[in-house]
Subunit: 538 residues, 2 copies
Amino acid sequence: MAFDLGTMTTNPGDSTFDYASVVSINIFVALLCACIVIGHLLEENRWLNESTTALIIGLCTGAVILFARGGRNYVIMMFSEDLFFIYVLPPIIFNAGFQVKKKQFFRNFMTIMLFGVVGTVISFIIISFGASQVFRIMDLGALEIRDYFAIGAIFSATDSVCTLQVLNQDDTPLLYSLVFGEGVVNDATSVVLFHAIQKFDLVHIDIKVVMKLVVNFFYLFSTSTFLGAFTGLLSAYIIKKLYFGRHSTDREVALMILMAYLSYMLAELLDLSGILTVFFCGIVMSHYTWHNVTQNSRVTTKHAFATLSFIAEVFLFLYVGMDALDIEKWRSVSGSPEKSMRVSVVLLGLVLVGRAAFVFPLSLIANISRNSQNDKLTLKQQVIIWWAGLMRGAVSIALAYNQFSRSGQTHQQGNAFMITSTITVVLFTTVALGLMTKPLLHFFLPPSTRHLTMSLSLDPSSQESFLSLLLSNGQAIEVEAENSVPRPTSLRMLLTTPSRSVHHYWRMFDDAFMRPVFGGRGFVPLVPGSPTERDGPD
Amino acid sequence: MAFDLGTMTTNPGDSTFDYASVVSINIFVALLCACIVIGHLLEENRWLNESTTALIIGLCTGAVILFARGGRNYVIMMFSEDLFFIYVLPPIIFNAGFQVKKKQFFRNFMTIMLFGVVGTVISFIIISFGASQVFRIMDLGALEIRDYFAIGAIFSATDSVCTLQVLNQDDTPLLYSLVFGEGVVNDATSVVLFHAIQKFDLVHIDIKVVMKLVVNFFYLFSTSTFLGAFTGLLSAYIIKKLYFGRHSTDREVALMILMAYLSYMLAELLDLSGILTVFFCGIVMSHYTWHNVTQNSRVTTKHAFATLSFIAEVFLFLYVGMDALDIEKWRSVSGSPEKSMRVSVVLLGLVLVGRAAFVFPLSLIANISRNSQNDKLTLKQQVIIWWAGLMRGAVSIALAYNQFSRSGQTHQQGNAFMITSTITVVLFTTVALGLMTKPLLHFFLPPSTRHLTMSLSLDPSSQESFLSLLLSNGQAIEVEAENSVPRPTSLRMLLTTPSRSVHHYWRMFDDAFMRPVFGGRGFVPLVPGSPTERDGPD
């Protein structure tokens, strides 16, 4: 984590760095520890989750500091988009790709693309149009057409980090893969939309511009995916070729971490979607690289990536909470609190409507392509999909700062309104909607039916022999083991599943070409001593 | 890792951060990957080790960039003391404490203190005095008395990171614990010396000032140690109390990482020695906390800490290598390359003499207190101790920058000489002396006698029942298992070992009071399901 080092001056001999920075780091690290402990204690709680706890602790700390300083401003840490996009986001998305249930993800790939691309565009149009109409009436100061489009792009981007908090991969794997997958694909869409906003003449949109955007999107999507897959395969190849016979856990883990990060930074360098790249890099690494390393490396990577992601998530919510009470940005809108509130309500409403406008129609379309009756998305599930994607989080704040402020502070009134409203929307959706999620899930999908959802979401006939090896790194097996009680036998379902044949050919290709070269489950010859290499204390 | 974020401006919607920063990060991460792969390939090589490889790769990259830019300056990354002291150093030292053979360390504690405190002071006096005499004759420009003392403090500080590269804990545990332990204790001495340089009137030193310094040192040493031990014990207590029965690997690992880092930053906040604190925090965590967590957490922490430390070390040497060719600082001394070379040679000579002046006499004193003949330090071992502590590395560079430059660039000629000479000394000791270390070790301690050294350094009669549990978290057992072939039986040695009774009482205290409260080997009741919790893929 980086704490705006530019402002630090250091005196290491004397062991006194810039006092304020050291204080900030101490406060943050201590609060992170507190969040973890309190979050653990509240684990059984019906309402709270870890992220809401962190957000609330952040808000409280911000309030305490504000009062302790008598209302004068004291920014512990400026919200920095670099910090967010360069250091905090990559581990979260990479870990999501590394731990995602790949089978589930690829089975629902078309639905995910539908939501992530078409859905985002629909939401973008509705929010941009709505905002331009309403805010013009409200007279918010100098907002250009570009700003309205930016509002649309900011608020139509699903926050993948929030989704991770709201839905649980083990409880609701289908919904998780749909909403989280949407969030990842969504990032590519957002990049294209932002490009378009900055480069095209958006007042006169014709078919040519639209075609160009579509081509742009597919170029971006395929290159980003390719880059992620390529880096992942390269890591698998290097570890398989060089390390065979004399494994070194530390080097293997270091190489995986560094190459995953490299894929993200390369994508940023090439103006691609870093999120998409690092997500696919995670998928490929868990499918190939992970099987080429020692048993100790497997345990270490699995938990170390999860831990890094966990710390980054808690940090993020804490950070957003503490940043929300920065007095400066509230001062410029303090003259008209009512108006600021109205802007927030309008934006929140547009987000609700914009998301509803594509989730339900697109679910209908998705259901048409799903042959089996059991496979279709029920209305209750659609409501959860709509709900779980509503949260707006740190991504929205970072984008809003980027668009509406120069050097972190905002002076123009219209811009100030946008920033404070974004914060209000983020706080409201994360805290209020976040608190309601557990009860809502409980209400719509009580634990008894959840098992059914889970078993339906998995291919029920794939249990033993065939599909269980397909596209899985063992996750499917584990889930199926948990899930062995309700097993509606139906060979018919297997036959009617359209993705089955794609999986079949991929499996053949994977076994014939990919795994012999890159390793993977069952294709790594046993290393003498390595499987018995026990994880005793050293 | 933080890359001087102050200079970055970001545009996340467009996914283009400041181009130069992204390029820098990409180059660094790619080079880190290259270092790991090449280092692995060269593992069997007689001369090179990983750090020398990284340094050479860094130098080559610097040269390539320099030529590609036609000699114009292009700083990929300014050397930043904050980056070094806040992010890179803590994981290295913490891991060293976490993995250190505690029994070995505490058995040699008095010798370590002798080297780390008295030795450093002797070396400091010799280097300061020598530099003031020689540089006055050489006419180096405006250097004050304070500067000479600073030179003494900078060059008498053993670089613990370099020691880790030169000596191997498994091959030469006694020498490793002596030299590395000296490096850690040394940091406290350096902090006191730097304080003294900045606050006391050093021209008139009387007994009062000396007494004050001695009191200062013991205050600093005890409070730093206490802070580290306290944080470690707190983490053990929290995990033992709260997590019992429902372990969560990610939370446990996160808590351990964060609390270790917190101990370091708290020490910096309180003007204590962060290195000493985080080192003792690592020792306490491996003695208590590590035993309170799940099997998966144990494997993960062990390897994750080692990996972080490994990445930090490689990064550091790469960084020093690339920074060395920054053309700016060489320009101001380019008028008199001969003089610059002479300064470097003088400093190198003073380092050699200063270290020899305390290693050999203090070894004699240490040998007096070691009763057993086999336990005494041989002349060959003394030469290795002298040699292994000669390396000067990133710590020296960071201290030199801090003392002799303002805002990273140096203009005054005397200061410029000091900085370039420090870099020259660092490069020479790390590359030239580093290359000679493996052959030298081979020459002085051939593998056949090394086993003897190792068996001597362990308490040979402690094998089975009693001392093997003493102060160990299983490391001793492992080493003893490796070492079971040459076993000179001698109950006499056990009886004559002076540290034995201290160990005995500590063991009694540990079993009666500490472990029941804080957990530890054998004092954590089995958690249902947790020991069988297998590290299967998920």
